[in-house]
Symmetry: C2
Subunit: 252 residues, 2 copies
DNA sequence: CCACATCGGTTCGCTAGTTGAACCGCTGGT
DNA sequence: ACCAGCGGTTCAACTAGCGAACCGATGTGG
């Protein structure tokens, strides 16, 4: 409707972000805008230190400055700062990769990750968008949400990410009940083949989910015999984070 | 010079980022712009999912979506993904907080942090801007830089952060020589009182510094008797990261 | 209990910022 | 030697952004 040069600017930023070092003509094509427009925006963003151009190839990318600005994103930074200590404890206890995911609309965004020294490990870049029905964090988040939210989410398309993603609404609802009884979710290779995860939601003061934590690793190490132990560890970590957040008086 | 609505948009984003949940009039005042302008930009950014308004207080903040876009910032994400495993090893070896900092102009930006389970620990939020002369990471970075860069940096003002920050150019130059001989830097309470850090630069294929890693903790635990051990561990970690980065073919 | 200050948000006429087609010189592939 | 693609520039047409003035709601001190 309006302020369309702002729209252009943000679209440029997002387009640059998606295909990291990228050329001018490429950008103009994906944005369906004239090169002049895109270049002018890029130059302005460069002056503001949001993008930079490699001298050799003349390709554009985002700067660390852009990261520094956006990393303070409201709910994220506070919850992440609180969660990190507890995640570390969880990581030491399980020796597997620990993830913290935070909601953004009807997806989760990977906000923090603690890696393991194992050669074989789960890998997902920070900032990844994670569908609610395809991950341990997502299912744990759903299970902690109100029924109206779940119903609304189930009304949208449930795409498969792997061949083992839960896409059947009834199966998913049954799993949600199980998670509510158990306290943690289990996702066997529904997000990446070969990776099994256990997740639990972090609850705010009102019982509303603020995000979730999970433990992930190759299915060869995260075997059913360990589900109870790891699941309880994840659940305990999520509870500790929730308690710390309440003390810190986190606001949404 | 031009495209000033883009400038306004970015300034709004940065202003929101700085004072997290913030009201309209506040923003207009700090930006020295009319409320109408600021509101129009905010509404546009809200449509693009970069900002959101809390329903109760009508205060604005950045969304996780903004984080997800900017976290892929070129040099950062690739180097961070490579570094994390090595940082974890370093953290297990020292049991202290491990930092990864990446250059942005003449400062460093804190790109990643691994916390410790210790109650007493170093704390710096992600995205913090770190002056080169006031931190272990920064001095290590300077020591690995070309002399022309160092001279240029020394020409600017060296502000004190704490009362123990090195602000004397000669002392700093002497320290840089020491770091070059030693392989790692030592910073005793120059960035935060009570915190001592040891740092080392990560070198690219051409010997140019890509960033630095450091180990930080309370001066009561990081005592001179441990400098050699921790320093060598940091140096080794930085070398490993540099080697992995070269293999991965990281581009600036 | 009433002014008064300040909040978030809206209106509207003027003007300046934004736009894209056409163009430039350069480089790499055939 | 050619041509297609690149990054970047120009300029006149015009549309989109600007801010002073204004609105009702909220709340606060006398």
């Amino acid at each position: 409707m309006s302020t369309q040069s702002v729209v252009t600017a943000v679209r440029v930023i997002e387009a640059v972000s998606e295909s990291q070092p990228v050329g001018l003509s490429d950008l103009a094509r994906t944005l369906d805008a004239s090169k002049a427009t895109v270049l002018r925006v890029l130059n302005t963003l460069a002056e503001l230190r949001w993008v930079q151009q490699s001298e050799l190839a003349k390709l554009w990318s985002l700067t660390p400055h852009a990261y520094a600005v956006a990393v303070r994103s409201g709910p994220m930074s506070s919850l992440r700062d609180i969660a990190i200590g507890h995640m570390n404890t969880l990581q030491l206890a399980t020796t597997e990769t620990v993830h913290l995911a935070i909601p953004d609309g009807d997806i989760l965004i990977l906000a923090e990750r603690l890696d393991t020294p194992h050669v074989l490990r789960a890998f997902l870049p920070l900032g990844s968008k994670i569908p609610l029905h395809a991950s341990a964090t997502g299912i744990a988040f759903l299970a902690a949400s109100e029924d109206s939210f779940i119903a609304e989410y189930l009304a949208s398309a449930l795409d498969s990410v792997t061949e083992r993603t839960l896409t059947d609404r009834d199966v998913l609802l049954a799993e949600i009940s199980a998670v509510r009884a158990r306290g943690y979710s289990i996702n066997e290779e529904g997000l990446s083949s070969g990776i099994t995860s256990l997740g639990a939601a972090i609850l705010g003061p009102g019982g509303d989910p603020l995000g979730s934590v999970s433990v992930s690793g190759p299915s060869s190490r995260i075997v059913p015999e360990r589900y109870t132990e790891y699941g309880q560890a994840v659940h305990a970590a999520a509870r500790s984070i929730g308690r710390s957040a309440a003390q810190a008086g986190t606001r949404l």
